[in-house]
């Protein structure tokens, strides 16, 4: 093994690592904001292709081999792993701030100064955002009031982005149509809403029907803490997915154990998704219990036989095969078995094991067996013929959930099963709706429900198979946005407002530090330049957002408008500016759309109902800046495991 050392040093203001980062990030600009565009990724070697709609999936598919690509992927993966949303912001800002750092290097600013200046800039932004954060209660109360007059989702700035891009900002649904009819504000529109948006706190007098055929019920408005307006505020254009989240939350809160507050209940750990190709997206739904796909007709008839009965359940955390041994068990390599010729029963070990396993299951009268790993097909058939339903490949978290809710104990070997390990009170059913619609395919959905569980399965359907992954991702990011909003208790104004605040804060501070003639100038001589560049980075963010939303045809237009808008407010120095920054932005964006749109005032009121998660945003900013600093301060890339004869590495140094 030979080692080689390549300098990524700063040569005449060029920093290769930062340039690479900027380039990678630039390719993801279309993922910013609610109107995401899909990207096709094609593997030339295999001919396979993938459809992606988020930075996380893009980087996962790209498998960047450069060290910068690797670091970016690591950062995004870590962010996704902990917060499950906001990777677009991470990548975008990593790119923008790389450009800021490059710009600074170009101007001859030393690295310690760049770091000090940019850290200062971020601190300023975080500080101003914290000051302007809205508490969830406040946000919800406000929304609840406005909801009575305007209704849900009517003028949301953003659309799902998956279905279609909306130039006019109106959602082309029943609600959107109502909105576009330009009813005056005082007209109280009795809006019909999906009953998914009823939270149980609001709907004490309502009966929550799980019937999927009647999609609309009247919405009762309530000023008590109600998830609906909150969900609306953080749906970010994914109304359909958010509707599923709300439905999941509603189901969970009905089954929440006694003593727990059922308000605002959303347990992300007890959510499962089940992607189902072949059906159109409207068929997505949420069901209480654990839904699995079953491909065997016999299983279906068995389940029909089981219906309406409380069943006994066993949980196996491993494979259900004779040869399975638990993790950490090393098979002896050098063993020979000596056979006595006289004792030969003719029964194979495998057969013996299977008989034993079946005997155990029958003795304990287990009806359902959930197995984490795989099951020998022969045993599966045996079980079926003895009326035991076996489900393979069940995730450990689900096994654990069944363990806690049914009193079962998950075991590694079937021989471990005893009375004490068997749980009870489980029901299974076939989802008939889907059985009919899925007739062409041979799969059927089975629902396994433990009576006390808050486990909820979200069935995500799409007629385009390639989109399922994105829809699933979308659902999870909605779930986590709501989850974080509840955890943080605070929200940041969304739709670019937060970033606008940051720009203003940076400009203000820049002016202060430029004018001050005191010693501070010696300590941070380049601060104004760096703050200016960072503010431009935010400008880029907002203009990309506006461009992606289709409000402007070129980023430059957005740019000039934002600048002009900021200037206006600075000159007027309105005292209330900070209090209602959202409206001003909405007005401004409205103006961009042309004067003819003025009568769309109703929509603009709605716009401020977009909020962002605070923790997610701050973590994304911090993560992006950390990455940029890490790469900025790197001057050497060392590659190990290279063959010296490899012609690719001619111009490098071997150590």
């Amino acid at each position: 093994m030979v080692l080689l050392c390549r300098s990524g040093a700063v040569n005449q203001g060029r920093h290769i690592g930062l340039q690479q980062l900027e380039a990678v990030a630039a390719s993801t600009h279309s993922f910013l904001g609610p109107n995401k565009r899909y990207k096709f990724i094609q593997d030339e070697a295999t001919g396979e292709s993938a459809l992606v709609c988020s930075c996380y999936r893009l980087l996962e598919q790209l498998e960047l081999s450069s060290s910068v690509g690797q670091l970016l992927h690591e950062t995004v993966r870590a962010h996704q792993g902990t917060l499950h949303s906001g990777t677009g912001t991470v990548v975008f800002l990593a790119g923008v701030w790389s450009r800021v750092a490059l710009e600074c290097l170009h101007k001859g600013i030393s690295i310690p100064h760049i770091i000090a200046g940019m850290s200062k800039g971020l601190d300023l932004c975080v500080e101003v955002c914290k000051r302007n954060a809205v508490t969830v209660e406040e946000g919800i109360c406000k929304s609840a009031v406005q909801k009575q007059t305007n209704g849900l989702f009517t003028g949301l700035f953003i659309d799902t982005g998956v279905k279609k891009s909306t130039q006019d900002g109106g959602v082309k649904s029943i609600n959107g149509v109502l909105n576009q009819e330009k009813r005056p504000l005082k007209h109280r529109i009795k809006l019909k809403h999906s009953r998914h948006f009823n939270s149980c706190s609001a709907g004490a007098e309502e009966t929550h029907s799980v019937d999927f055929t009647s999609p609309n019920l009247h919405q009762k408005c309530s000023k008590t803490l109600d998830l609906t307006p909150l969900a609306e505020a953080v749906s970010h254009g994914c109304e359909a997915s958010m509707r599923l989240v709300m439905e999941a939350s509603r189901i969970q809160s009905t089954y929440v154990p006694q003593g727990h507050s059922s308000h605002n209940f959303l347990d992300v750990d007890r959510l499962v998704t089940c992607p189902l190709p072949g059906l159109s997206e409207e068929h997505s739904c949420v069901l209480h219990g654990y839904v699995v796909k079953s491909c065997r007709v016999e299983q279906v008839s068995l389940v029909k036989h089981f219906e309406e009965r409380a069943l006994k359940i066993g949980l196996i955390n491993g494979d259900l095969t004779e040869s399975y041994r638990h993790v950490g068990f090393n098979r002896p390599k050098n063993v020979t078995y000596i056979h006595d010729s006289c004792i030969s029963t003719g029964v194979s070990v495998e057969q013996e094991w299977m008989d034993r396993a079946l005997r155990i299951l029958l003795n304990l009268s287990i009806d359902i067996l959930l197995v984490n790993g795989m099951v020998t097909s022969q045993l599966k058939s045996h079980c079926l013929s003895h009326n035991i339903l076996v489900i393979e490949h069940v995730k450990v978290t689900i096994l654990n959930n069944f363990a806690t809710t049914t009193g079962a104990v998950s075991v590694s070997y079937v021989t471990q099963l005893s009375e004490r390990c068997v749980g009870s009170g489980v029901q299974v059913s076939v989802l008939r709706d889907y059985q009919n619609t899925l007739k062409t395919e041979s799969s059927t959905l089975l629902n396994i429900v433990a009576s006390a569980t808050t486990l909820v399965t979200v069935i995500i359907t799409s007629s385009v198979h390639a989109k399922l992954q994105s829809l699933e991702d979308q659902f999870w990011s909605c779930t986590y946005r709501l989850h974080h909003a509840l955890n943080d208790g605070k929200l940041l104004p969304g739709a670019g407002m937060t970033e606008l605040l940051c720009i203003r804060q940076l400009y203000r501070h820049k002016d202060v530090s430029q004018n001050s003639k005191d010693r501070q100038k010696d300590v941070a001589p380049y601060e104004p330049v760096i703050l200016q560049l960072m503010a431009e980075g935010w400008m880029d963010y907002i203009s990309t957002l506006m461009f992606n939303a289709g409000q402007v045809t070129a980023k430059a237009h957005a740019w000039t408008h934002i600048a002009q808008h900021l200037k206006e407010f600075e000159s007027k120095s309105l005292p209330g500016w900070l209090k209602s920054p959202l409206k001003t932005y909405s007005n401004s964006t409205n103006a961009i759309q042309g004067k003819g749109d003025q009568d769309r005032g109703e929509g603009t009121v709605e716009r401020d109902e977009v909020y962002d998660n605070m923790t997610v945003k701050f973590e994304a900013w911090r993560g992006a800046l950390d990455l940029v600093f890490l790469i900025l301060q790197t001057d050497t890339e060392i590659i190990t495991g290279i063959n010296e004869s490899d012609s690719q590495f001619r111009d490098v140094m071997f150590l």
Binding site: L3, S7, R325, H326, P332, D340, D522
Partner: protein, 596 residues
Amino acid sequence: MLSVNSATLPTDRQTAVAVMSRVCKKAASRCTDDPLAVPELWQKFAVLRLMLSSCYGPGGRFKQIHNNVGGHVLTTSTSSVLLRALTFSEDLLKLVAGAVINHAARLGDCGLFTGIVCINLVQNARGMNLSAALATRVYRHLLAECRRYLRSESCGCRVEVDFSNVQTLITLARTVISSKRVCMLTPEELQHISSVTVQAFLLSVPSAPSDPSHSSAPSGPSESSESPGRRCFGRTVTIPLEGLPVGDSAVFPGLLLDLPVLQSGDLQRLGPAPYKIALFNMSLSGDLSDMEDAALEIHAGLNPDQVLLDQLLKLGEQVVRDGVVLFVCQRVIHPVLQQYLRERGLVVIERLGAALVEPLAQMTGTTMISSIYSPIPAQAYGLVGGLRLHHRASKELLQLLPSGDPALSTVLLCHRNQTMLEELKVMCERAEHVLRLTLKEPYALLGGGCTETLLSAYIRYTTESRAAEVAVDLSCSLSEVLLGTESFCRALLSVAGSLEREDPPLLMDLTFAHCWNSRTSDQLCCSCGLIMNSSGLEQNPINTEHQAFLPELPQKLDLHPTLLLDSFSAKISALSVAVEVACLLLDVKYTIKDVN
């Protein structure tokens, strides 16, 4: 960019041997005369020096190390991490790298210092045409001079560590941790981590034997096993946890375990502490792994797995009978045994890992059990003072409290991402190492390059004032002594020079011989922070000619919290290692390489 056409001859021959090992006769060993004169090697030395010096100090640049085929990218500016990840083709480079790694492992700090000084000493000697024997003599003489000065009372770059005040300790820890920017800490975070490190260090210092409270303390088995006159350091275990803010880092007495599956329900059923613990350092998975690759012949009617499981259950039976509450295994425990124990109310922990078994045994006074075939002797069990569950983000952490003296503490380190956390972990461990060294030699050296400038000024002065005498002692000419001294001082100053890489060079004042940064216009204080006012001080860029002078001692030592302090023991040792390795390198006449 440097490009070297490395000798490909040996590799070619090697592959030939590999392919036709029977046909080829053994190749003759390759012998290089005066290897340091080979330009390629010379160049590689220069690259290594550049690499090390560009890592040095808080402004140091990072190195990304990754494999050609992909995988994790390691970002670091720490000598031991960097050099461990590299593979060198030249033996002399390996020698330097080995010396640095070894030094860092023993003393925890000043690894880069060792490498930079060492290579500079070699390069300066060659560059000034000093013969190897002469350079070696002068260097060794000057090293002895340095050591004498640093240990003398008149030393100007040494401050005493005041154990009655925790501030000096925090300053020492802070200087070590802040020297690596990969950790990416804000000033507040740096302060927090420094105090956490000092806290962990203080917990690891055993209480004085004269302490009256000690004898009345509940005596765990760990104490009875200690000989009365000898006290040893407690251990500190570091648990990194990614994705949490640095502010969540903390010290816990006892052992903190980050376990994937934990039955928190188990803990609620437990009675009052202390709990009996059994600790196994072998696999209880019920396999035949302890047989290694021995050939086994088994009768077909016999099921070895069942036999072993029966044996394990017999063990479980005894453990339950003996009233054990905590059953811990370094490796895997058979699920059947786990189930058996859990059903009887025991807390079962498996896959503890080799790194934690030893400290746990020490803390609980347990004898580790390594066999399942004999009954467990009663004295093998230990005691745990209590169990506590902590929640951090989505993780559950189990704290095992010591039953007596906290001979063990756990530092939970949190950071935003993996790269930064890895570096932080290394730095915290090094800082604690440095703090322990102060117990042996309760001194610290001024940081920020001031020790190097001061030492070089002193060496220049003493040698010049006694040059003739020294020349006789070393049996060489006067000019040779001065040349050797110049080489030595430049090597020292090059370390200080590594601290600053973009701005105008560093300055040295000609009164105290401290190091000054020329960037700040009004120069509030020197690099280490000890000299507060530069007015009236004549300053020279370092590495320029100046009249030799004896550095003055400042009037009073103001040990304020923003001071930079380096480890005394580590730096003295680093200087010795650097000089010794440099002398060795200069002495190498031939390298002989077996290329078969």
